[in-house]
Symmetry: C2
């Protein structure tokens, strides 16, 4: 669903997007390609990863490493991978937890497994519809970004603005990829807010003593 | 430092406050008592816990359980304990981590160890000076609260308003004490922001599709 939302917005913005799945003829991917128009296509994870100048990981957190192995992510050189995933574990009757947290993060696992990739963690802290349309919420509200490569982060930050409409002052750079721990741990707080508000349509704004 | 800040504000507001320490003649507590005036006093953890209608746990997260044992917290009946602590672990050269997180929290540990206490997690998500003076930051910004006892939460929420000036619409009730996981995990993200901003003077505001 996250991948579909991001891909549709990118296609609307004039970008060519290939949706990757485990199989080339995945029904949902084929349906998306048909509905999204001429700039949309689908293929295997490896097809899509090879196709993209920038690769988005929108797979389920527990399956991300395996999906990226299928994507032959080790053969992608220093490509930028935007990691949107969250390592959430849902168990019946209990609050959701994370499969990795505190001393490590999924983004770091990905960076370690594929050291040549330039992993940038972004967008995982909000609902998919807000990712691609921050104007759904009033006023200023913020995204985080982190990663080890400054150029990659700068390119992704520009993309968040150009592709999805995030104002530059609402993108907070938290430093290297270890900051993904906090960005992923936020989900545990986020989920409790979603329960309390009965909607995922919210985000945080960081209020500081001096502007912004 | 957190306890000193909270106690001083409460004394200023006309409340009688006893500061608890490991020993009755703790130098910093004695100095605080002298400077804070007639409504301030100090004693052992047990003296202070017995004294208070409401007890604040402002001890270091890693020492909280032991401090509460010294406070004879098991003998306090159904007193309200406001848990302000965070289970932070600082190790040289690494980002701070939590000693408990994800599937448990310090507040839950305290609630399990002292099942009669009515534990309310609050205030741990902001810097001490903001805890007692939310007007240090402009406009709306928010606190979380959680706990298993609705009456205790309601009383603490009123206290946050009456004692410290938090507007009721800026206090978000996240439900039972398991929500303390997210409130404590927030610190990992908070610390990275403190590094990025080079100041602890910030807080989050939750922006929703419809007011507030």
């Amino acid at each position: 669903m996250v991948g579909n939302t991001l891909a549709s917005k990118l296609v609307e913005g004039g970008h060519e997007v290939m949706m990757g799945s485990r199989t080339r003829d995945n029904e949902e991917a084929v349906a998306w390609t048909k509905s999204a128009g001429a700039r949309a296509s689908q293929g295997t994870f490896a097809d899509a990863a090879q196709f993209g100048e920038v690769v988005f990981n929108c797979t389920s957190g527990g399956k991300s490493i395996e999906a990226l192995r299928q994507a032959k992510a080790a053969e992608l050189g220093d490509r930028i991978l935007i990691d949107v995933s969250n390592p959430l574990v849902f168990a019946a009757g209990s609050p959701p937890t994370l499969s990795v947290s505190n001393t490590d993060s999924l983004a770091e696992e990905i960076q370690r497994e594929f050291p040549n990739l330039r992993v940038v963690k972004a967008l995982n802290t909000v609902n998919a519809s807000i990712m691609v349309n921050p104007a759904l919420l009033p006023g200023d509200h913020d995204l985080f970004i982190c990663g080890n490569d400054e150029n990659a982060k700068a390119k992704v930050a520009r993309g968040l603005t150009d592709w999805f409409g995030w104002a530059p002052q609402n993108i907070i750079d938290l430093g290297d990829i270890t900051a993904a721990r906090g960005m992923e741990m936020w989900l545990i707080l986020w989920i409790r807010m979603m329960f309390a508000f009965k909607t995922p349509m919210f985000n945080l704004h960081i209020v500081r003593a001096s502007a912004p």
